[in-house]
């Protein structure tokens, strides 16, 4: 039960997107629709949980001086694994997310959790933390994608109840910056941490 608090922490108190402001590149680039945002979030969750588990398990054996390169190699291995899995089972999503799947390697959330959490906690705790942070990231990306899709295309998760065009700019690049800016303010107000 106590492990559960790491998971909840990752979603609310340490939300990677709205509070820690990490991993901005995929956040802005892949949220042109709710489905895309959610897929990117889940892909990152996959890598984050596995790398957190692996790093917390081997952290004791890695000399301090070479720990960052070692973590990067571990993360890159799981990203390559993910690329294979997605190419085999989800080729259309893999095409849409494109460049941003290999770029999970340099997502600061993954390396950040390895350095700040996984290397000083047990395997189970790190797994819970990975799930929490991953879910926090997924929820943030889904919400961001949903808002952009609603405003830009008048649809939600691809479901389009009304005819007509939205405000196109929200699906294009500037909309990503604007919506994220306002969502961070909203999150701050709702959770009360300024």
């Amino acid at each position: 039960m106590s492990k559960l608090k790491y998971t909840v922490n990752g979603i609310l108190k340490d939300n990677p997107t709205f509070v820690l402001l990490l991993g901005m590149c995929p956040t802005l680039a892949t949220t042109s629709s709710a489905i895309n945002g959610m897929s990117m979030g889940l892909a990152t969750l996959f890598v984050l949980v596995l790398s957190n588990i692996a790093i917390s398990a081997v952290a004791k054996f890695i000399p301090d001086k070479v720990r960052i390169p070692s973590y990067i190699v571990i993360i890159a291995t799981f990203v390559t694994l993910l690329q294979f899995l997605m190419q085999a089972f989800l080729p259309s999503i893999y095409e849409t997310l494109g460049l941003f799947i290999p770029l999970i390697v340099v997502n600061c959330i993954v390396l950040g959790r390895a350095e700040a959490f996984a290397n000083k906690h047990t395997v189970l705790e790190s797994a819970c933390d990975g799930i929490g942070i991953g879910l926090g990231f997924t929820i943030a990306l889904t919400v961001l994608g949903l808002v952009r899709e609603l405003l830009g295309n008048l649809s939600a998760f691809g479901w389009k109840p009304v005819e007509g065009d939205g405000i196109l700019v929200f699906i294009l690049a500037p909309g990503a910056f604007l919506v994220l800016g306002y969502l961070i303010v909203l999150f701050k107000k709702l959770t009360g941490n300024n």
Partner: protein
């Protein structure tokens, strides 16, 4: 002529920060002051061009002939990390003044997704600059990498100027810091969309 199209398209039309969303973390992180923004842009320019040269050769002469392109991600990130370390060591010896000017920005660049992003784009994406779609050759890749980096510097320096002015204005409490920066970046991206008909 083709090079000119590459240059304009990479700097303005497909600006790496404002339309491709690569390298956002340093874009938001070190754009508080104009001088640090210039330092970071210089360091990124240098590393992107060098990293693209090395990873391009690695792809064409090692990974492709051996049919191990699936190792791209791992190989590229290792090369970039090693390269950044090496650049640090060489610069320290050869040009201490440049080294101290770039200072803390160099080690940060390893995890700048613009570097890995450009390296991957160059070897995986087909471009059609006015002609048939084709993979870039070495010279085109280098021109593309350098102009992308110049575009990065341009966005960064402009943005730092805006943020220096913003700091002097009274911003609502909840918007202070990153939110207002993101919104200004959004307006800047809108301005850059004006270039989209250019190429």
């Amino acid at each position: 002529m083709e090079y000119l199209i590459i240059i304009i398209s990479a700097i303005f039309v497909n600006n790496i920060v404002l339309s491709q969303f690569l390298g956002i973390c340093p874009f938001l992180g070190v754009s508080n002051k104009l001088s640090t923004a210039v330092g970071m842009s210089g360091a990124v320019c240098f590393v992107i061009t060098l990293a693209t040269l090395v990873t391009y050769l690695l792809q064409v002469y090692v990974l492709a002939p051996l049919n191990i392109e699936f190792l791209q991600t791992i190989a590229f990130i290792l090369v970039i990390a090693a390269l950044v370390q090496m650049v640090e060591i060489v610069l320290k010896k050869v040009s201490p003044s440049l080294y101290s000017a770039l200072g803390i920005f160099l080690p940060l660049i390893t995890t700048n997704c613009a570097v890995l992003g450009v390296a991957l784009i160059v070897v995986t994406k087909e471009f059609s600059f006015g002609g048939e779609p084709h993979m870039l050759n070495l010279v085109e890749s280098l021109v593309y990498a350098l102009s992308t980096a110049v575009g990065y510097g341009l966005a960064m320096v402009l943005f730092a100027g805006i943020r220096e002015t913003l700091a002097l204005n009274s911003v609502p409490k909840s918007f202070k810091g990153v939110p207002i920066a993101l919104i200004s970046a959004g307006i800047m991206a809108m301005a850059f969309m004006g270039f989209s008909g250019l190429v």
